[in-house]
């Protein structure tokens, strides 16, 4: 089991989640974050912090988002760990509104 960062993160990357991860399992690139499933302990601390509801417990990942399970597992580990809050991406606020999380 693990938690999974799904498509809503892409282009937002608000990074509130990384500040409460007890095991620092978030990794990121210029566009978004990924969770390393080998490290995540399923505490769920990150879920309520995401402004665009991008993070799901593995068992709750919506059918249309299930591809992200494998993408998180593949991409997370080689990318740098994100442990501190970063500035959100420039279009993050606009995208938040577009996603319906005004």
């Amino acid at each position: 089991m693990t938690h999974v960062v799904t498509s809503n993160c892409t282009g937002c990357r608000f990074t509130e989640c990384v500040t409460v991860c007890p095991v620092e399992c978030f990794h990121g690139d210029a566009e978004r974050l990924y969770i390393d499933p080998g490290l995540c302990i399923d505490c769920g601390a990150c879920i309520p912090l995401c402004p665009v509801k991008a993070i799901y417990d593995l068992v709750d990942v919506p059918a249309a988002q299930r591809e992200w399970i494998a993408i998180n597992a593949e991409r997370a580990a080689p990318l740098p760990v994100m442990r501190a809050k970063q500035a959100a991406l420039p279009d993050a606020e606009a995208q938040r509104v577009a996603l319906g999380f005004a």
Partner: protein
């Protein structure tokens, strides 16, 4: 040469460890004394997280990594206020961070709360998790009905422990005495009682789902309509609705009765709890209801117990602070004194919440220390000298790791992940025995 900052952290739960990590990561040239009153570190990860949640406990690997930093001096078995005073810590360090949590169960403040059979979650959770302070606790499991008051994750844990098959708990790190008592438990009906609405429950969807998933558990609602009140349901309310709508298991072993809008009025009984009296808190009814029960566990929060002389806000149960700086009182400034974790923000959040919290407190420490030149202080070396003079024997991290191995080995013998050391006397005995055995 710049003066090295001497920092003391009181308490080695998540808040204490994450504060140490944040200070070191921020590049502070410092030495950190980490003081723990119990024989083992990790605070509520060890003594709060339920035994059937082993994955959460794997976070201790992170704390071990932090403790391995040579700038941290870990001292277990040392109680501030008993073995060393807060004033002594303050005199020998530039900053003292209180990370000693909220160990006291909140009281409902209704009559009968001191009856035998009524206990707070602090005691009940300490009992099944083998907390040294709760070794003598014996919950009343000889009556078929128990009540759990509160609707946070702790209430969910307590309900799950009362409703699960004891086989699901064995194999982890629960107290052997608790496992034996739960194996003989006669509890078949558990009443979960909350003052508020289904949507106001403080538990997470995950914990509620886990409770609902117990095999053989039927769920009843005292007033099912409350679960289907109008309005867009939150994820949590949807989970309550799913529980209300699902069929009973083919064979009912235990039943969970959920009561919303129900406020305890009194615990009744002659010496021992016999009944819990509830009133309707929605205003819809004026009649009181009585639940006959032999055990009631109040899971309504916790209060801090800081060292003597530190102010505690009576209403919130936390140390008054601004971002982690302990506020000055009429008695004077508390410059150099900080607070983090539950003692700072109250008993909310999960393990990781303390990481962000610790970063905030550590930033206050950094800012205050960088403001002006500091004079050299002796730090943990002075405290350890005081402890030696008082014949107090700190358990350093290497000694804890020895205890950790001993606990795991003891677990192997009974098919458990570990059997926890019962308290300081046993810890010292184990360490002495290991020292006298030739390698």
């Amino acid at each position: 040469m710049a003066v090295q900052a001497q920092i003391a952290i009181v308490g080695s739960g998540p808040a204490g460890f994450y504060t140490a990590e944040a200070l070191l990561r921020a590049g502070l040239d410092c030495s950190i004394g980490l003081y723990e009153r119990l024989p083992a570190p990790y605070g509520l990860v060890r003594y709060g997280v339920a035994p059937d949640h082993p994955k959460l406990k794997s976070v201790t690997a992170v704390f071990d990594r932090i403790a391995a930093d040579p700038r941290i001096r870990y001292c277990g078995g040392v109680e501030v206020g008993r073995d060393v005073t807060l004033a002594e810590l303050e005199a020998h360090h530039h900053a003292v961070v209180l990370a000693c949590g909220s160990p006291i169960g909140r009281q409902l403040g209704v009559t009968g709360e001191t009856l035998d059979g009524v206990m707070s979650s602090a005691t009940f959770v300490g009992w099944y998790n083998a907390h040294p302070d709760d070794a003598a606790v014996q919950p009343q499991l000889d009556h078929p009905t128990a009540a759990v008051i509160g609707m946070g994750n702790v209430a969910m844990d307590v309900c799950r422990l009362l409703c699960t098959d004891v086989g699901n708990l064995a194999g982890h790190d629960a107290a052997p005495a608790a496992l034996a008592a739960l194996a003989g438990s006669r509890v078949r009906e558990v009443h979960l009682i909350a003052r508020g609405a289904p949507g106001a429950a403080k538990c997470t969807v995950k914990e509620l789902r886990e409770l609902g998933a117990l095999p053989g558990l039927a769920v009843r609602f005292a007033r099912e309509a409350a679960v289907f009140e109008a309005g867009e349901p939150t994820d949590l309310v949807s989970e309550w609705r799913a529980l209300a709508a699902r069929p009973d298991p083919p064979y009912i072993e235990r039943t969970l009765h959920v009561h919303f809008y129900s406020a305890p009025v009194a615990f009744e009984g002659a010496g021992r709890l016999a009944a819990l009296r509830l009133r309707d808190s929605s205003g819809a009814a004026t009649t009181e209801r009585v639940i006959q029960c032999g055990l009631a566990v109040t899971c309504i929060g916790y209060r801090g117990r800081p060292p003597a002389g530190v102010p505690l806000d009576d209403r919130s149960g936390v140390v008054p602070n601004a971002g982690g700086r302990v506020r000055a009182t009429r008695a004077g400034s508390r410059a150099g004194l900080y607070v983090v974790g539950w003692l700072k923000r109250g008993p909310t959040g999960v393990i990781g919440t303390n990481r962000a919290d610790a970063v905030e407190t550590a930033a206050c420490v950094m800012e205050d220390l960088s403001g002006s030149a500091i004079e050299p202080r002796a730090g943990s070396a002075a405290i350890e000298a005081l402890l030696r003079a008082r014949a107090v024997r700190p358990i350093d991290f290497a000694a804890w790791q020895q205890l950790d191995r001993w606990e795991r080995e003891r677990g192997l013998a009974c098919g458990a992940a570990r059997v926890k050391v019962s308290g300081l006397p046993e810890a010292y005995a184990v360490l002495d025995a290991a020292a006298s055995t030739p390698a």
